[in-house]
């Protein structure tokens, strides 16, 4: 068996797996009957449907020839890890050290995701964006966000 379309092959697997997980998960909730559908009724049906549709995608990926094999291509690991990491760190830091530290941390870290990293630009970004956020979110919209490290 040869994979004819890489993208579809992995999408198919993803849909099948997700569908099964949801369908199995739905078994924990009362299924009810058609006349009295319970909380598990709809998600179970959807999970099965997703797994079936995923099966069709997988089948097509293995049978229908696609020009160039529909390759997934190289994965942008650096932006992926940096962006996901920086956002998570920001979520962790904001309630603990406040905006004045968490924001520059986020901006500096995120800047590592691009091809070019220039200290001066990052510094400008930090100052302008932190100031801007303070003005918009705390002064303007009066949102309840800590500015400085504190309890």
């Amino acid at each position: 068996m040869k994979i004819k379309s890489q993208k579809d092959f992995w999408s198919g697997l993803m849909f099948i797996a997700t569908g099964i997980v949801f369908a199995v998960g739905a078994l924990n909730y009362s299924f009810g009957s058609a006349a009295h559908p319970g909380p598990g009724y709809f998600p179970f049906g959807l999970g099965v449907l997703l797994a079936l549709l995923g099966g069709v995608v997988l089948f097509k990926a293995l049978t229908i020839e696609v020009e160039g094999g529909d390759r997934i291509g190289s994965i942008a690991w650096r932006p992926l890890i940096v962006v996901v990491g920086a956002v998570s760190l920001f979520g962790f830091a904001l309630p603990r050290v406040g905006m004045v530290i968490a924001l520059p941390l986020l901006i500096a870290l995120a800047s590592l995701a691009g091809d070019e990293f220039r200290w001066k630009d990052v510094l400008v970004n930090c100052v302008v964006l932190t100031l801007g956020c303070w003005l918009i979110f705390i002064v303007g919209l009066k949102l309840n966000i800590g500015l400085w490290p504190g309890p």
């Binding site: 997700t18 909380p39 962006v83 996901v84 979520g91 956020c133 309840n144």
Partner: protein, 504 residues
């Protein structure tokens, strides 16, 4: 005249100082993000959703709507000047618009696009006002089964008309419906898929904003950063002579009329809206033109038609959203999300319970369009300058807004972590060629569909045939099935694939 009274109420609302301000803010923001490639209206509206907590519902929706149609204007500016469509709906504008710019007629192309859009905006605003009432009257005849069938039709239609791979888009819808199941069941009160996390136990489960921001905001950033930076040729200094000549007018106006008509019709259809409208209008112009060989070499009709059509489509796509509570594209899904955030149950009752909101929004579209014409033509130089802002300044700013936005949703870190998770998921979708827009539609409609399905089954005592014995419901389901069958027909399939290949 009811229509006149309603529009009067609408203009009273839309012309209040506060609402004028937010309409202006919306169209300016919309133009801005329309000009910037790599930042679309979906990501922007998602980014701004948290900030509307501080606003009233009417100004909030007026602003968000402004972003959507403002983006159509902005997108065409860059398409004409630098051959980079800021929005997907201006892809076809770039073909002839950029050629006009190279011939030194950038100003004429921009003016044609703006005036055509304005005309289309005026007509379609009237159309929204005029069509809304009959739609609502009809929808009150709907029971649970019909509403369920209508949502099925809406979802199917959305993917049939507006995405690449049909089967994968269907998968994404179902996945979206499933993600919408992570919540506390409305009928029995049982928490589902919560992993004992209290944050997942409310009626909404994973926040709508979280998904939209993660997938559309962050996912796009990762994808953009993964691509090498490109060099662009900019025609900033050559924008002179804005006013089209008599000959230009003579050629452009029939195209504007055709574009407006076609765009208005396509906007109402599920999956329609600006994108489909502009593509269809371009092919129509090419077909009816006396000299089709001019297309691709700077034909003014190639700018006037699609630009009028995308604006008309952007506006008439509000009709199903406002009257039935059914989103036809991702932006409308976000608008529904925004309404829910403001405590307004989307659906046919909005017009009677919040008439000022409803008609104010409709009237604001006309006001916003006027603002766009008056403001944008003189400001073109400034917008184009913005293009020189490097991405390394832009993407940290987007991230900052998304991060703060997701934190302030409920003032806790959980939503920020979830956004990070969906950023990863969004990138996976991008890599696997799975379009995220259908997922968002499914997610929005999921809880509503479940409720209607379960109530319909309850009423029919578990008899599934209720969906096909009730004529209206049966008709809607048959229409949905027909759509799928028609698309799978070989001849249409190849045409459709051709059309989407042009889009890439």
């Amino acid at each position: 005249m009811d229509l006149v009274n309603n529009l009067m109420l609408g203009f009273q609302t839309a012309l209040s100082l506060q609402n004028l301000f937010y309409a202006l803010l919306g169209v300016l923001l919309g133009t801005l993000i329309g000009v910037l490639p790599g930042l679309g209206p979906v990501a922007t509206i998602a980014m701004l959703l948290p900030s509307i907590y501080a606003l009233d519902a009417t100004p909030a929706l007026i602003m968000l709507a402004g972003i959507y149609y403002g983006a159509q204007y902005g997108g065409s500016t860059t398409a004409i000047l630098i051959n980079v469509p800021g929005e997907s709906s201006s892809v076809v504008t770039a073909i002839d618009g950029y050629q006009m710019a190279r011939q030194g007629r950038a100003g004429v192309a921009l003016a044609t696009a703006a005036l055509g859009s304005f005309f289309a905006g005026c007509v379609s605003t009237l159309l929204v006002a005029w069509m809304s009432e009959p739609m609502i009257v009809m929808s009150f005849k709907f029971g649970d089964a019909e509403r369920f069938a209508l949502m099925v039709l809406g979802l199917i239609g959305a993917v049939v008309l507006a995405s690449g791979s049909l089967i994968k888009a269907l998968c994404m819808i179902v996945l979206g419906l499933l993600i919408g199941q992570i919540n506390t069941d409305v009928i029995s009160g049982a928490p589902r898929y919560s992993f004992d996390l209290p944050e997942l136990m409310d009626a909404e489960g994973i926040g709508f904003v979280v998904i939209a921001m993660g997938v559309f905001g962050f996912g796009e950033i990762i994808a953009n950063l993964g691509q090498p930076a490109e060099k662009r040729e900019v025609f900033t200094n050559k924008v002179t002579g804005l006013w089209p000549t008599k000959e230009d007018f003579r050629q452009a106006w029939p195209a504007v009329l055709r574009g407006t008509a076609l765009g208005s019709v396509l906007g109402v259809l599920p999956g329609g809206g600006a994108l489909l409208a502009s593509f269809a209008a371009y092919s129509l112009e090419k077909k009816v033109a006396q000299d089709p060989s001019k297309f691709g070499k700077g034909a003014i009709q190639g700018v006037a038609g699609p630009e009028s059509a995308n604006n008309a489509g952007a506006q008439t796509s509000f009709i199903p959203m406002l009257t039935l509570g059914i989103p036809t594209n991702a932006v409308m899904a976000l608008m529904i999300g925004a309404m829910t955030i403001k405590g307004i149950q989307p659906g046919p009752q909005v017009m009677s319970t919040n008439p000022a909101l409803f008609w104010g929004l409709v009237a604001s579209m006309w006001v916003g369009n006027l603002m766009l014409v008056v403001l944008n033509l003189p400001l073109i130089g400034m917008w184009v300058k913005l293009l020189t802002v490097p991405y390394r300044f832009l993407f940290p700013a987007i991230m900052v807004f998304c991060c703060i936005g997701s934190y302030t949703l409920k003032n806790n870190s959980f939503d920020v972590y979830m956004t990070a998770l969906f950023a990863f998921v969004g990138y996976v979708f991008y890599k696997l060629g799975c379009e995220p827009a259908p997922l968002l539609l499914g997610y929005i409609l999921g809880p509503m569909m479940e409720e209607n399905l379960r109530r319909a089954l309850l009423l029919s005592r578990g008899d599934w045939s209720t969906f096909i014995t009730r004529p209206l419901s049966a008709g809607l389901l048959v229409a949905a099935a027909l759509l799928v069958v028609v698309v799978l027909l070989p001849s249409i399939r190849s045409k459709r694939e051709e059309a989407f290949q042009d889009a890439d």
